[in-house]
Amino acid sequence: MPVAHGHPEATPSSENMVVAERVYKRFGRLPVLQGIDLRVRRGEVMCVMGPSGSGKSTFLRCVNHLEKINAGRLWVDGQLMGYRQKGGKLYELHDREVAAQRRNIGMVFQNFNLFPHMSVLGNVVEAPLQARGRRGGTRSQIQQHALELLDRVGLANKARAYPRQLSGGQQQRVAIARALAMNPALMLFDEPTSALDPELVGDVLDVMRDLASEGMTMIVVTHEVGFAREVADSFVFMDEGVVVESGAPREVLGNPQHERTRSFLSKVL
Protein backbone atom coordinates (compact mmCIF):
# COMPACT_ATOMS: atom_id res chain seq x y z
CA MET A 1 0.00 0.00 0.00
CA PRO A 2 1.67 3.25 -1.04
CA VAL A 3 2.05 5.92 1.59
CA ALA A 4 0.79 9.27 0.32
CA HIS A 5 2.85 12.30 1.21
CA GLY A 6 1.83 15.99 1.37
CA HIS A 7 -0.44 16.74 -1.60
CA PRO A 8 -2.03 20.07 -0.66
CA GLU A 9 -3.92 20.51 -3.93
CA ALA A 10 -5.43 17.05 -4.01
CA THR A 11 -9.20 16.80 -4.11
CA PRO A 12 -10.96 13.91 -2.46
CA SER A 13 -11.73 11.26 -4.98
CA SER A 14 -15.18 9.71 -4.86
CA GLU A 15 -13.84 6.32 -3.87
CA ASN A 16 -12.64 7.69 -0.54
CA MET A 17 -15.03 8.13 2.37
CA VAL A 18 -12.51 9.86 4.61
CA VAL A 19 -9.51 11.85 3.50
CA ALA A 20 -7.25 13.44 6.08
CA GLU A 21 -4.47 15.65 4.81
CA ARG A 22 -1.74 16.73 7.19
CA VAL A 23 -4.16 17.21 10.08
CA TYR A 24 -2.71 19.10 13.04
CA LYS A 25 -4.46 19.59 16.35
CA ARG A 26 -3.24 21.30 19.50
CA PHE A 27 -4.88 21.73 22.89
CA GLY A 28 -3.47 25.04 24.01
CA ARG A 29 0.25 24.45 23.66
CA LEU A 30 0.01 20.65 23.73
CA PRO A 31 0.36 19.20 20.23
CA VAL A 32 -1.87 16.13 19.98
CA LEU A 33 -2.13 15.43 16.27
CA GLN A 34 1.00 16.27 14.34
CA GLY A 35 0.18 15.81 10.71
CA ILE A 36 -2.11 12.88 10.08
CA ASP A 37 -2.38 11.75 6.45
CA LEU A 38 -4.91 9.04 5.97
CA ARG A 39 -7.54 7.74 3.53
CA VAL A 40 -10.44 5.44 4.20
CA ARG A 41 -12.11 3.96 1.09
CA ARG A 42 -15.84 3.39 0.90
CA GLY A 43 -16.75 0.15 2.62
CA GLU A 44 -13.38 -0.10 4.26
CA VAL A 45 -12.96 -1.02 7.90
CA MET A 46 -9.94 0.68 9.42
CA CYS A 47 -8.63 -0.29 12.82
CA VAL A 48 -6.56 2.17 14.82
CA MET A 49 -4.33 1.19 17.71
CA GLY A 50 -1.83 3.07 19.76
CA PRO A 51 -0.77 3.75 23.31
CA SER A 52 -2.81 5.90 25.65
CA GLY A 53 -2.61 9.59 24.84
CA SER A 54 -1.44 9.00 21.29
CA GLY A 55 -4.39 11.00 19.94
CA LYS A 56 -6.70 8.26 18.68
CA SER A 57 -9.82 9.70 20.30
CA THR A 58 -8.86 13.18 19.27
CA PHE A 59 -8.52 12.11 15.66
CA LEU A 60 -12.00 10.56 15.67
CA ARG A 61 -13.40 13.74 17.20
CA CYS A 62 -11.75 15.78 14.47
CA VAL A 63 -13.33 13.58 11.80
CA ASN A 64 -16.82 14.62 12.80
CA HIS A 65 -15.74 18.16 13.67
CA LEU A 66 -16.26 17.86 17.41
CA GLU A 67 -12.81 19.36 17.53
CA LYS A 68 -11.70 22.00 15.07
CA ILE A 69 -8.39 21.09 13.50
CA ASN A 70 -5.62 23.69 13.55
CA ALA A 71 -4.14 22.95 10.17
CA GLY A 72 -4.65 20.55 7.29
CA ARG A 73 -7.84 19.37 5.65
CA LEU A 74 -10.41 16.70 6.43
CA TRP A 75 -13.01 15.44 3.95
CA VAL A 76 -15.78 12.99 4.70
CA ASP A 77 -17.89 11.67 1.82
CA GLY A 78 -16.38 14.30 -0.44
CA GLN A 79 -17.32 17.18 1.85
CA LEU A 80 -14.80 19.32 3.68
CA MET A 81 -15.75 18.87 7.34
CA GLY A 82 -16.93 22.08 8.96
CA TYR A 83 -15.83 24.47 6.25
CA ARG A 84 -16.65 25.68 2.78
CA GLN A 85 -13.70 26.55 0.57
CA LYS A 86 -14.29 29.41 -1.83
CA GLY A 87 -11.62 31.34 -3.67
CA GLY A 88 -8.78 30.15 -1.49
CA LYS A 89 -10.64 31.20 1.65
CA LEU A 90 -12.28 28.99 4.24
CA TYR A 91 -15.72 29.84 5.57
CA GLU A 92 -17.08 28.18 8.67
CA LEU A 93 -20.27 26.27 8.02
CA HIS A 94 -23.50 27.17 9.68
CA ASP A 95 -24.61 25.08 12.67
CA ARG A 96 -27.34 23.59 10.49
CA GLU A 97 -24.86 22.46 7.85
CA VAL A 98 -22.40 20.99 10.34
CA ALA A 99 -25.27 19.07 11.92
CA ALA A 100 -26.24 17.73 8.50
CA GLN A 101 -22.66 16.59 7.88
CA ARG A 102 -22.54 14.89 11.26
CA ARG A 103 -25.80 13.06 10.64
CA ASN A 104 -23.90 11.14 8.02
CA ILE A 105 -21.41 9.94 10.64
CA GLY A 106 -22.26 7.77 13.60
CA MET A 107 -20.04 7.86 16.65
CA VAL A 108 -19.75 5.56 19.64
CA PHE A 109 -17.89 7.03 22.59
CA GLN A 110 -15.48 5.43 24.99
CA ASN A 111 -17.74 6.40 27.90
CA PHE A 112 -21.18 5.87 26.31
CA ASN A 113 -22.66 9.35 26.94
CA LEU A 114 -26.21 8.09 26.89
CA PHE A 115 -28.89 10.68 27.69
CA PRO A 116 -29.79 9.81 31.28
CA HIS A 117 -33.19 11.52 31.20
CA MET A 118 -34.47 9.45 28.30
CA SER A 119 -35.40 5.81 28.13
CA VAL A 120 -33.29 3.48 26.05
CA LEU A 121 -35.78 3.73 23.21
CA GLY A 122 -35.86 7.51 23.65
CA ASN A 123 -32.09 7.63 23.25
CA VAL A 124 -32.24 5.71 20.01
CA VAL A 125 -35.15 7.55 18.38
CA GLU A 126 -34.08 11.05 19.42
CA ALA A 127 -31.94 11.94 16.44
CA PRO A 128 -34.18 10.34 13.76
CA LEU A 129 -37.24 12.05 15.23
CA GLN A 130 -35.51 15.40 15.26
CA ALA A 131 -34.38 14.96 11.66
CA ARG A 132 -37.75 13.60 10.57
CA GLY A 133 -38.65 16.68 8.56
CA ARG A 134 -35.71 15.98 6.30
CA ARG A 135 -35.72 12.21 6.06
CA GLY A 136 -39.39 11.35 6.30
CA GLY A 137 -40.67 8.32 8.11
CA THR A 138 -43.48 8.27 10.63
CA ARG A 139 -42.88 8.15 14.34
CA SER A 140 -43.89 4.51 14.48
CA GLN A 141 -41.60 3.57 11.59
CA ILE A 142 -38.74 5.23 13.41
CA GLN A 143 -39.62 3.41 16.61
CA GLN A 144 -39.86 0.16 14.71
CA HIS A 145 -36.41 0.69 13.29
CA ALA A 146 -35.08 1.59 16.73
CA LEU A 147 -36.50 -1.59 18.23
CA GLU A 148 -34.90 -3.63 15.47
CA LEU A 149 -31.56 -2.00 16.24
CA LEU A 150 -31.99 -2.70 19.94
CA ASP A 151 -32.77 -6.28 19.08
CA ARG A 152 -29.58 -6.47 17.05
CA VAL A 153 -27.53 -5.48 20.11
CA GLY A 154 -29.52 -7.85 22.32
CA LEU A 155 -31.48 -5.27 24.27
CA ALA A 156 -34.98 -5.32 22.79
CA ASN A 157 -36.36 -6.11 26.24
CA LYS A 158 -34.71 -3.04 27.78
CA ALA A 159 -36.37 -0.47 25.51
CA ARG A 160 -38.32 1.12 28.36
CA ALA A 161 -35.49 1.07 30.90
CA TYR A 162 -33.41 4.10 31.77
CA PRO A 163 -29.65 4.11 31.19
CA ARG A 164 -28.80 4.07 34.89
CA GLN A 165 -30.72 0.82 35.27
CA LEU A 166 -28.32 -0.89 32.89
CA SER A 167 -24.90 -2.32 33.51
CA GLY A 168 -21.95 -0.73 31.77
CA GLY A 169 -22.00 -3.31 29.05
CA GLN A 170 -25.65 -2.77 28.32
CA GLN A 171 -25.17 0.97 28.16
CA GLN A 172 -22.49 0.71 25.53
CA ARG A 173 -24.69 -1.45 23.37
CA VAL A 174 -27.46 1.13 23.52
CA ALA A 175 -24.93 3.75 22.46
CA ILE A 176 -24.11 1.66 19.40
CA ALA A 177 -27.78 1.27 18.50
CA ARG A 178 -28.24 5.01 18.91
CA ALA A 179 -25.39 5.77 16.54
CA LEU A 180 -26.77 3.35 13.97
CA ALA A 181 -30.24 4.86 14.11
CA MET A 182 -29.45 7.60 11.58
CA ASN A 183 -28.21 5.05 9.03
CA PRO A 184 -24.88 6.82 8.79
CA ALA A 185 -22.51 6.31 5.89
CA LEU A 186 -19.50 6.27 8.22
CA MET A 187 -19.21 4.89 11.72
CA LEU A 188 -16.56 5.94 14.23
CA PHE A 189 -15.98 3.62 17.16
CA ASP A 190 -13.83 4.76 20.08
CA GLU A 191 -12.92 1.57 21.93
CA PRO A 192 -16.48 0.29 21.58
CA THR A 193 -15.89 -2.99 23.35
CA SER A 194 -13.61 -1.89 26.16
CA ALA A 195 -16.54 -1.68 28.60
CA LEU A 196 -18.33 -4.74 27.33
CA ASP A 197 -18.33 -8.11 28.94
CA PRO A 198 -16.18 -10.54 26.98
CA GLU A 199 -19.21 -12.69 26.41
CA LEU A 200 -20.96 -9.88 24.58
CA VAL A 201 -17.97 -8.55 22.70
CA GLY A 202 -18.53 -11.28 20.16
CA ASP A 203 -22.13 -10.21 19.55
CA VAL A 204 -21.11 -6.63 19.01
CA LEU A 205 -18.28 -7.58 16.73
CA ASP A 206 -20.81 -9.63 14.76
CA VAL A 207 -22.98 -6.54 14.38
CA MET A 208 -19.96 -4.61 13.20
CA ARG A 209 -19.04 -7.37 10.80
CA ASP A 210 -22.59 -7.26 9.39
CA LEU A 211 -22.28 -3.52 9.01
CA ALA A 212 -19.05 -3.94 7.14
CA SER A 213 -20.54 -6.48 4.77
CA GLU A 214 -23.46 -4.13 4.12
CA GLY A 215 -20.90 -1.65 2.85
CA MET A 216 -20.54 0.50 5.97
CA THR A 217 -17.30 2.39 6.24
CA MET A 218 -15.86 2.27 9.73
CA ILE A 219 -12.95 3.62 11.71
CA VAL A 220 -12.53 1.56 14.83
CA VAL A 221 -10.18 2.47 17.64
CA THR A 222 -9.78 -0.83 19.43
CA HIS A 223 -7.34 -3.07 21.14
CA GLU A 224 -9.13 -6.23 20.05
CA VAL A 225 -6.34 -7.67 17.99
CA GLY A 226 -8.52 -10.57 16.92
CA PHE A 227 -11.13 -8.27 15.46
CA ALA A 228 -8.52 -6.18 13.70
CA ARG A 229 -7.00 -9.24 12.13
CA GLU A 230 -10.30 -10.73 10.97
CA VAL A 231 -12.44 -7.78 10.00
CA ALA A 232 -10.21 -4.82 9.29
CA ASP A 233 -9.19 -3.98 5.75
CA SER A 234 -6.47 -1.69 6.97
CA PHE A 235 -4.60 -1.13 10.16
CA VAL A 236 -3.04 2.02 11.57
CA PHE A 237 -0.66 2.31 14.47
CA MET A 238 -0.50 5.77 16.01
CA ASP A 239 1.87 7.23 18.56
CA GLU A 240 2.41 10.78 19.76
CA GLY A 241 0.04 12.21 17.23
CA VAL A 242 1.51 10.65 14.11
CA VAL A 243 0.79 7.53 12.11
CA VAL A 244 3.78 5.35 12.81
CA GLU A 245 2.89 2.43 10.62
CA SER A 246 0.00 1.33 8.47
CA GLY A 247 -1.02 -1.32 6.02
CA ALA A 248 -2.94 -4.55 5.83
CA PRO A 249 -3.68 -5.82 9.35
CA ARG A 250 -1.99 -9.17 8.90
CA GLU A 251 1.18 -7.53 7.63
CA VAL A 252 1.49 -4.94 10.34
CA LEU A 253 0.36 -7.20 13.14
CA GLY A 254 2.41 -10.09 11.92
CA ASN A 255 5.53 -8.23 10.96
CA PRO A 256 5.71 -4.72 12.38
CA GLN A 257 8.47 -2.60 10.83
CA HIS A 258 8.83 0.02 13.52
CA GLU A 259 10.37 -0.45 16.91
CA ARG A 260 7.50 1.36 18.65
CA THR A 261 4.90 -0.78 16.95
CA ARG A 262 6.80 -3.91 17.85
CA SER A 263 7.09 -3.06 21.53
CA PHE A 264 3.43 -2.05 21.75
CA LEU A 265 2.18 -5.17 20.01
CA SER A 266 4.39 -7.40 22.11
CA LYS A 267 2.44 -6.24 25.16
CA VAL A 268 -0.97 -6.48 23.55
CA LEU A 269 -0.69 -9.87 21.92
Binding site: N113, F115, P116, H117, M118, R164, M182
Partner: protein, 309 residues
Amino acid sequence: MTDAGGTVGTADGPPPEEIRAIPVRHPGRWLAALVCMVLAAQFVHMLLTNPAFQWDFMFDNMFTEPVLIGVRTTLLLTVLAMLIGIVLGILAAVMRLSGNPVLATLAWLYTWVFRAVPRLVLAVLFGNIAILYGTIEFGIPFDHYWMPLLGLEGEARIFGIETRTYLRGFTAGLLALALSEGAYMAEIVRAGLQSVDRGQTEAAQALGLRRSTILRRITLPQALRVIIPPTGNETVAMLKDTALVAYVPVTTELFFQLNNIGARTFNLFPMLVAACLWYLAITSLFMIGQYFLERSFHQGERGTTVPTN
Protein backbone atom coordinates in the same frame (compact mmCIF):
# COMPACT_ATOMS: atom_id res chain seq x y z
CA MET B 1 0.07 -19.44 48.69
CA THR B 2 -0.47 -20.71 45.21
CA ASP B 3 -1.79 -23.98 46.51
CA ALA B 4 -4.39 -22.41 48.79
CA GLY B 5 -7.57 -22.11 46.77
CA GLY B 6 -10.68 -20.52 48.22
CA THR B 7 -13.59 -22.41 49.65
CA VAL B 8 -16.79 -21.56 47.94
CA GLY B 9 -20.22 -23.01 47.78
CA THR B 10 -23.65 -22.53 46.34
CA ALA B 11 -26.49 -22.20 48.80
CA ASP B 12 -29.44 -24.50 48.75
CA GLY B 13 -32.50 -24.82 50.93
CA PRO B 14 -34.66 -21.87 51.92
CA PRO B 15 -32.89 -18.52 52.32
CA PRO B 16 -31.88 -17.59 55.88
CA GLU B 17 -34.02 -15.12 57.76
CA GLU B 18 -34.05 -11.50 56.67
CA ILE B 19 -31.64 -9.16 58.41
CA ARG B 20 -33.56 -6.80 60.65
CA ALA B 21 -30.86 -4.95 62.49
CA ILE B 22 -31.40 -2.45 65.27
CA PRO B 23 -30.46 0.96 63.90
CA VAL B 24 -27.73 3.09 65.41
CA ARG B 25 -29.02 5.36 68.15
CA HIS B 26 -28.32 9.05 67.75
CA PRO B 27 -29.33 10.49 71.12
CA GLY B 28 -27.97 13.93 70.19
CA ARG B 29 -30.14 14.01 67.11
CA TRP B 30 -33.21 12.96 69.00
CA LEU B 31 -32.57 15.52 71.66
CA ALA B 32 -32.23 18.26 69.07
CA ALA B 33 -35.41 17.10 67.40
CA LEU B 34 -37.18 17.08 70.74
CA VAL B 35 -36.04 20.59 71.56
CA CYS B 36 -37.20 21.79 68.16
CA MET B 37 -40.57 20.15 68.61
CA VAL B 38 -41.06 21.58 72.08
CA LEU B 39 -40.17 25.02 70.75
CA ALA B 40 -42.65 24.60 67.92
CA ALA B 41 -45.33 23.42 70.35
CA GLN B 42 -44.69 26.40 72.59
CA PHE B 43 -44.87 28.67 69.60
CA VAL B 44 -48.21 27.25 68.50
CA HIS B 45 -49.47 27.45 72.05
CA MET B 46 -48.40 31.07 72.22
CA LEU B 47 -50.11 31.75 68.89
CA LEU B 48 -53.36 30.41 70.19
CA THR B 49 -53.30 32.06 73.60
CA ASN B 50 -51.56 35.38 72.88
CA PRO B 51 -54.18 38.15 72.76
CA ALA B 52 -52.04 40.16 70.34
CA PHE B 53 -53.16 37.94 67.51
CA GLN B 54 -56.86 38.67 67.72
CA TRP B 55 -57.83 35.68 65.67
CA ASP B 56 -61.45 36.81 65.35
CA PHE B 57 -60.48 40.12 63.85
CA MET B 58 -58.07 38.37 61.55
CA PHE B 59 -60.51 35.82 60.23
CA ASP B 60 -63.18 38.48 59.82
CA ASN B 61 -60.89 40.46 57.59
CA MET B 62 -58.76 37.97 55.72
CA PHE B 63 -61.47 36.67 53.42
CA THR B 64 -63.17 39.91 52.44
CA GLU B 65 -63.63 40.55 48.76
CA PRO B 66 -60.78 43.07 48.30
CA VAL B 67 -58.42 40.61 49.96
CA LEU B 68 -59.55 37.78 47.71
CA ILE B 69 -59.07 40.02 44.69
CA GLY B 70 -55.67 40.78 46.15
CA VAL B 71 -54.88 37.06 46.26
CA ARG B 72 -55.82 36.77 42.61
CA THR B 73 -53.68 39.73 41.58
CA THR B 74 -50.75 38.45 43.58
CA LEU B 75 -51.00 34.97 42.11
CA LEU B 76 -51.37 36.31 38.60
CA LEU B 77 -48.43 38.68 38.98
CA THR B 78 -46.25 35.94 40.47
CA VAL B 79 -46.99 33.41 37.77
CA LEU B 80 -46.70 35.84 34.87
CA ALA B 81 -43.57 37.54 36.20
CA MET B 82 -41.93 34.15 36.73
CA LEU B 83 -42.87 32.89 33.28
CA ILE B 84 -41.53 35.98 31.54
CA GLY B 85 -38.55 35.97 33.87
CA ILE B 86 -37.70 32.36 33.07
CA VAL B 87 -37.86 32.99 29.33
CA LEU B 88 -35.66 36.07 29.72
CA GLY B 89 -33.34 34.09 31.97
CA ILE B 90 -32.90 31.25 29.50
CA LEU B 91 -32.26 33.75 26.74
CA ALA B 92 -29.70 35.66 28.76
CA ALA B 93 -27.99 32.46 29.98
CA VAL B 94 -27.70 31.07 26.47
CA MET B 95 -26.35 34.41 25.25
CA ARG B 96 -23.88 34.45 28.11
CA LEU B 97 -22.58 30.97 27.26
CA SER B 98 -22.80 31.40 23.50
CA GLY B 99 -19.15 32.26 23.09
CA ASN B 100 -20.15 35.30 21.06
CA PRO B 101 -18.54 38.23 22.85
CA VAL B 102 -21.20 40.80 21.90
CA LEU B 103 -24.09 38.66 23.04
CA ALA B 104 -22.25 37.56 26.16
CA THR B 105 -21.50 41.16 27.11
CA LEU B 106 -25.08 42.25 26.55
CA ALA B 107 -26.36 39.40 28.68
CA TRP B 108 -23.83 40.22 31.35
CA LEU B 109 -24.81 43.89 31.36
CA TYR B 110 -28.46 42.97 31.71
CA THR B 111 -27.73 40.64 34.61
CA TRP B 112 -25.50 43.19 36.26
CA VAL B 113 -27.89 46.11 36.08
CA PHE B 114 -31.16 44.38 36.73
CA ARG B 115 -29.91 42.37 39.67
CA ALA B 116 -28.46 45.46 41.28
CA VAL B 117 -31.49 47.72 40.96
CA PRO B 118 -33.95 47.08 43.79
CA ARG B 119 -37.39 45.93 42.71
CA LEU B 120 -38.87 48.76 44.69
CA VAL B 121 -36.95 51.26 42.61
CA LEU B 122 -37.92 49.46 39.42
CA ALA B 123 -41.55 49.60 40.49
CA VAL B 124 -41.29 53.31 41.23
CA LEU B 125 -39.50 53.85 37.92
CA PHE B 126 -42.00 51.92 35.86
CA GLY B 127 -44.84 53.64 37.66
CA ASN B 128 -43.28 56.99 36.85
CA ILE B 129 -41.84 56.16 33.48
CA ALA B 130 -43.34 59.43 32.31
CA ILE B 131 -40.73 61.16 34.39
CA LEU B 132 -38.17 59.70 32.00
CA TYR B 133 -40.01 59.46 28.72
CA GLY B 134 -43.33 61.15 28.06
CA THR B 135 -44.03 58.80 25.20
CA ILE B 136 -42.22 55.73 24.01
CA GLU B 137 -41.60 56.34 20.36
CA PHE B 138 -40.47 54.08 17.57
CA GLY B 139 -38.35 55.44 14.79
CA ILE B 140 -34.76 56.24 13.98
CA PRO B 141 -32.88 57.07 17.13
CA PHE B 142 -31.21 60.35 18.09
CA ASP B 143 -33.19 62.29 15.46
CA HIS B 144 -32.74 65.54 17.34
CA TYR B 145 -29.05 65.31 16.62
CA TRP B 146 -28.71 64.02 13.10
CA MET B 147 -31.80 65.52 11.43
CA PRO B 148 -30.54 69.11 11.75
CA LEU B 149 -27.15 67.99 10.49
CA LEU B 150 -28.80 66.73 7.33
CA GLY B 151 -30.79 69.91 7.03
CA LEU B 152 -34.03 68.10 7.80
CA GLU B 153 -36.75 69.31 10.09
CA GLY B 154 -39.23 67.45 12.19
CA GLU B 155 -38.82 64.08 13.79
CA ALA B 156 -37.94 60.65 12.45
CA ARG B 157 -40.44 58.86 14.62
CA ILE B 158 -42.95 56.45 13.31
CA PHE B 159 -45.39 56.01 16.12
CA GLY B 160 -45.46 56.59 19.83
CA ILE B 161 -47.15 55.16 22.87
CA GLU B 162 -48.35 57.55 25.48
CA THR B 163 -46.64 55.89 28.42
CA ARG B 164 -48.96 57.56 30.87
CA THR B 165 -51.86 55.71 29.29
CA TYR B 166 -50.47 52.27 28.63
CA LEU B 167 -47.50 51.65 30.82
CA ARG B 168 -49.09 51.87 34.19
CA GLY B 169 -50.71 49.77 36.82
CA PHE B 170 -50.58 46.06 36.36
CA THR B 171 -48.55 46.12 33.14
CA ALA B 172 -45.91 48.41 34.57
CA GLY B 173 -45.64 46.36 37.74
CA LEU B 174 -45.44 43.10 35.84
CA LEU B 175 -42.75 44.46 33.56
CA ALA B 176 -40.69 45.70 36.49
CA LEU B 177 -40.87 42.36 38.28
CA ALA B 178 -40.32 40.26 35.16
CA LEU B 179 -37.26 42.23 34.03
CA SER B 180 -35.74 41.93 37.46
CA GLU B 181 -36.55 38.23 37.67
CA GLY B 182 -35.02 37.59 34.26
CA ALA B 183 -31.65 38.76 35.56
CA TYR B 184 -31.80 36.40 38.53
CA MET B 185 -33.03 33.50 36.40
CA ALA B 186 -30.16 34.09 33.98
CA GLU B 187 -27.68 33.15 36.70
CA ILE B 188 -29.68 30.13 37.75
CA VAL B 189 -30.08 28.80 34.23
CA ARG B 190 -26.41 29.40 33.56
CA ALA B 191 -25.44 27.31 36.59
CA GLY B 192 -27.85 24.62 35.44
CA LEU B 193 -26.47 24.44 31.94
CA GLN B 194 -22.93 24.37 33.26
CA SER B 195 -23.76 21.43 35.49
CA VAL B 196 -24.54 19.17 32.54
CA ASP B 197 -21.60 17.02 31.52
CA ARG B 198 -20.02 18.16 28.28
CA GLY B 199 -20.14 14.58 27.04
CA GLN B 200 -23.89 14.98 26.72
CA THR B 201 -23.54 17.89 24.34
CA GLU B 202 -20.87 16.08 22.39
CA ALA B 203 -22.93 12.94 22.02
CA ALA B 204 -25.85 15.04 20.81
CA GLN B 205 -23.64 16.94 18.40
CA ALA B 206 -22.24 13.70 17.07
CA LEU B 207 -25.81 12.56 16.38
CA GLY B 208 -26.25 15.62 14.17
CA LEU B 209 -28.63 17.49 16.44
CA ARG B 210 -28.66 21.23 15.99
CA ARG B 211 -27.63 23.67 18.66
CA SER B 212 -31.17 24.75 19.47
CA THR B 213 -32.36 21.15 19.58
CA ILE B 214 -29.53 20.16 21.89
CA LEU B 215 -30.48 22.97 24.24
CA ARG B 216 -34.17 22.09 24.15
CA ARG B 217 -33.92 18.30 24.28
CA ILE B 218 -30.63 17.45 25.96
CA THR B 219 -29.02 20.13 28.09
CA LEU B 220 -31.99 22.10 29.42
CA PRO B 221 -33.95 19.01 30.56
CA GLN B 222 -30.89 17.75 32.40
CA ALA B 223 -30.15 21.21 33.76
CA LEU B 224 -33.67 21.38 35.18
CA ARG B 225 -32.63 19.10 38.00
CA VAL B 226 -30.30 21.87 39.13
CA ILE B 227 -32.51 24.75 37.99
CA ILE B 228 -35.77 23.80 39.66
CA PRO B 229 -34.91 24.21 43.36
CA PRO B 230 -33.51 27.74 43.10
CA THR B 231 -36.35 28.62 40.75
CA GLY B 232 -38.71 27.46 43.48
CA ASN B 233 -36.89 29.89 45.74
CA GLU B 234 -37.32 32.65 43.21
CA THR B 235 -41.02 31.92 42.88
CA VAL B 236 -41.57 32.03 46.61
CA ALA B 237 -39.57 35.25 46.86
CA MET B 238 -41.49 36.71 43.93
CA LEU B 239 -44.77 35.85 45.62
CA LYS B 240 -43.86 38.25 48.37
CA ASP B 241 -42.11 40.81 46.18
CA THR B 242 -45.33 41.37 44.30
CA ALA B 243 -46.14 43.53 47.31
CA LEU B 244 -43.76 46.07 45.78
CA VAL B 245 -46.14 46.84 42.95
CA ALA B 246 -47.84 49.02 45.55
CA TYR B 247 -45.20 51.53 44.51
CA VAL B 248 -46.38 51.57 40.88
CA PRO B 249 -49.12 51.75 42.30
CA VAL B 250 -51.17 48.60 41.93
CA THR B 251 -53.38 48.46 44.95
CA THR B 252 -55.40 45.34 44.25
CA GLU B 253 -52.57 43.33 45.74
CA LEU B 254 -52.75 40.98 48.70
CA PHE B 255 -50.22 42.47 51.08
CA PHE B 256 -51.31 46.01 50.34
CA GLN B 257 -54.92 45.15 51.03
CA LEU B 258 -54.20 43.44 54.31
CA ASN B 259 -51.79 46.12 55.39
CA ASN B 260 -54.33 48.75 54.53
CA ILE B 261 -56.94 47.19 56.76
CA GLY B 262 -54.35 47.13 59.50
CA ALA B 263 -53.31 50.74 59.04
CA ARG B 264 -56.86 52.00 58.87
CA THR B 265 -57.85 50.21 62.04
CA PHE B 266 -54.54 50.43 63.88
CA ASN B 267 -54.73 46.68 64.16
CA LEU B 268 -51.77 45.74 62.06
CA PHE B 269 -50.40 42.69 63.74
CA PRO B 270 -53.28 40.30 63.01
CA MET B 271 -53.19 41.45 59.42
CA LEU B 272 -49.49 40.64 59.13
CA VAL B 273 -50.29 37.21 60.47
CA ALA B 274 -53.08 36.93 57.92
CA ALA B 275 -50.56 37.79 55.21
CA CYS B 276 -48.26 35.04 56.49
CA LEU B 277 -51.09 32.53 56.44
CA TRP B 278 -52.03 33.43 52.89
CA TYR B 279 -48.42 33.24 51.80
CA LEU B 280 -48.01 29.90 53.56
CA ALA B 281 -51.01 28.56 51.70
CA ILE B 282 -49.80 29.75 48.32
CA THR B 283 -46.23 28.66 49.02
CA SER B 284 -47.51 25.19 49.87
CA LEU B 285 -49.24 25.12 46.51
CA PHE B 286 -46.01 26.04 44.77
CA MET B 287 -44.04 23.50 46.77
CA ILE B 288 -46.39 20.71 45.76
CA GLY B 289 -45.94 21.75 42.15
CA GLN B 290 -42.17 21.82 42.62
CA TYR B 291 -42.22 18.36 44.17
CA PHE B 292 -43.92 16.83 41.18
CA LEU B 293 -41.75 18.74 38.73
CA GLU B 294 -38.59 17.60 40.48
CA ARG B 295 -39.78 14.04 40.61
CA SER B 296 -40.52 13.96 36.93
CA PHE B 297 -37.09 15.36 36.09
CA HIS B 298 -35.21 13.07 38.41
CA GLN B 299 -36.50 10.17 36.38
CA GLY B 300 -33.56 8.16 35.16
CA GLU B 301 -31.12 10.37 37.02
CA ARG B 302 -28.53 8.96 39.34
CA GLY B 303 -28.92 11.45 42.15
CA THR B 304 -27.05 11.58 45.39
CA THR B 305 -28.19 11.54 48.94
CA VAL B 306 -26.03 12.23 51.89
CA PRO B 307 -24.70 8.76 52.72
CA THR B 308 -26.78 7.12 55.40
CA ASN B 309 -24.07 4.63 56.21
